[in-house]
Amino acid sequence: MLSFSIATRFLRKSPMQSILIAAGIAIGIGVQVFLGSLITSLQTSLVDQTIGHSPQVIVQSATDGQAVTVTPALKQAFASQSQVTTAVPTRVFSAIYRKGKVSAPLQFTGGDLAQLDTIYDISGRMSAGTARLGSGDVLVGKDFAAKNGLKPGGTLPLVLPSGKAASLTIAGVFDFGSAAANSATAFVDGSYAAGVLGYGGDQYSAVDAQVSNVFDSKTVAAQLAADPAVKGLRVTEWQAQNNDLLSALKSQSSSSYMIQFFVLIAVALGIASTLAISAVQKTRQIGILKAMGMKDRQTGRIFLWQAVILGVSGAAVGVVLGLSLIAAFTFAGRNSAALFPIHPQVAFIVVSFVVGVLVAMLSSLIPSRRTTKLDPIEVIQGG
């Protein structure tokens, strides 16, 4: 531990220099933690907003409009996928809202409310009335209700695909936070939908599923498609339908990685140059230590230890700095609805910390090598 103790003395002898290097590392890691958390949270928020409350994997008939018979084997096919968090059979039909001269198309999803909630969280996102899907009940979107002056307890006059007129009772109004969903979708109970579609008790339009990691939807879809019970049915997943979103996410990730990479490069160069200067400043001391019998490798380790000390303290301060930036960002936007929450991830912070220390250690290689190669005679003769 002699190398370590010499390293601390060297650092303490020039405190300003040491603080500057540590500050450089701290800023680098702080930016890394903040930016990384920001981008990750932004993506999580985007993904969540886009597909968090919608089916990520859908199994339906290969022919449009045909029913899927939900057999126990099909249910089992979903159940055997550990990634599938929920699988809900739904019946989907379109109808036209018509009152006086006003008419508007509505897409109805019929199913069991408790089951639908596992995907759409309707109960958790009500803005008026009650979340209830009894016989003859309908739940409509906020924008649709506002536009047509509809309120819970009122009726919803419809023209069904068959051309027959029908009327449902508005039990409640939901707000999904999206204009498209709020103005054109509605939920009814499953047996009503079966009646409209003319389906039997085990016949559905589709089975909607969600997966634990949304980016695994491709794998899950492929595995489902390979299941004998799913044979002949069409399996689709969200990624294939959302190429634009995906490429936006990808380019966001890569630009974030680029920024983080260059920040780290800048940090590494800063540490390397400062440590190199320090190594030159300490040439005399290293020469004396070697004359006294200190081994080459031991002297090389002095600068490695300096880098470790600076790296650990700098990265620790950097993590605190990054978290403070996140807190400040969250605080500044506390009243803005447009802002998404930043969730700093422990694993990412640990990785950032370790990367900071490793970059510092890597930067010490040049001064370390220089020190290792130094011949004591160079110092003694130059004396």
């Binding site: 002699l2 103790s5 010499i6 003395r9 060297f10 303490r12 002898k13 005399r284 001391q285 004396i288 230590l289 070697k290 004359a291 006294m292 019998g293 200190m294 081994k295 080459d296 031991q298 004591p376 005679i377 003694i380 003769q381 004396g383």
Partner: protein
Amino acid sequence: MAEVLLAAEGLGKTYGTTVKTVALSDVSFELQAAEFAAVIGQSGSGKSTLLNLIGLLDTPTSGRIVINGHDTAAATRMRRAALRNDLIGFVFQFHYLLPEFSVLDNVLMPGRIAGVGVAKLKPRAEEVLTLLGLEGLESKGANDLSGGQKQRVAIARALMNRPALVLADEPTGNLDTENTKAVYELFRRINQELGTAFVIVTHDRAVAQQTDRILEVQDGRLLQDVRNAYLDPAPGDGHTRDETDGGGGEPGGVRAAAEPGGVRAAAAEAASPE
């Protein structure tokens, strides 16, 4: 019969590859344990090169050095570092203390390099600091001392690992007359009390004449190797009395000859058998 501490056999050192400068050529001598010797010569004569070679700080281009029975011809850098740490103490013209460390830490350093714990080393460090009259200065920074004190700390540090040999290169070059005298008296006392061999490089003939043996280097060659004797006043223009064969010769034979150093030589003799 005194034991041979160091044997230099046909030492040569040439610098440069295209333009060759011969700094030292064919120097041979033996140094006994507890010997107190001086190397003199004009600047550029090769005396420091010789000291660096026998101090294992530099490697000879020809010849070899055997120290305490270890042939260093094929020794690795690591091995030479270990031998330096174990056997040799250095005192340079510039004290070369580590300014980042206190007096005590500087003195402890050779012991710590040897891998010994501070607690175990402390009594020894205090012992050498007392020997050099540096008590009470332990916690001072190396830069907070006077020139004479710094050089004494450097000497204390050189003695830390109980070296068999102390090599001093112009150790008083930066000191005033009073401190110079004090340092040589100290060297002599350590030589007598601890049986440590000394090789002191100096350009000061008066200083050299207070040692028991003088090796004079000129133009990279060993011009003369005399014991307990006067040197000719002008170097290189004649012969000295009692010139020996350059290979160490038989000590004692010339000891009785002349000079006030005779008494000290006898004392050194008495101290040497251990």
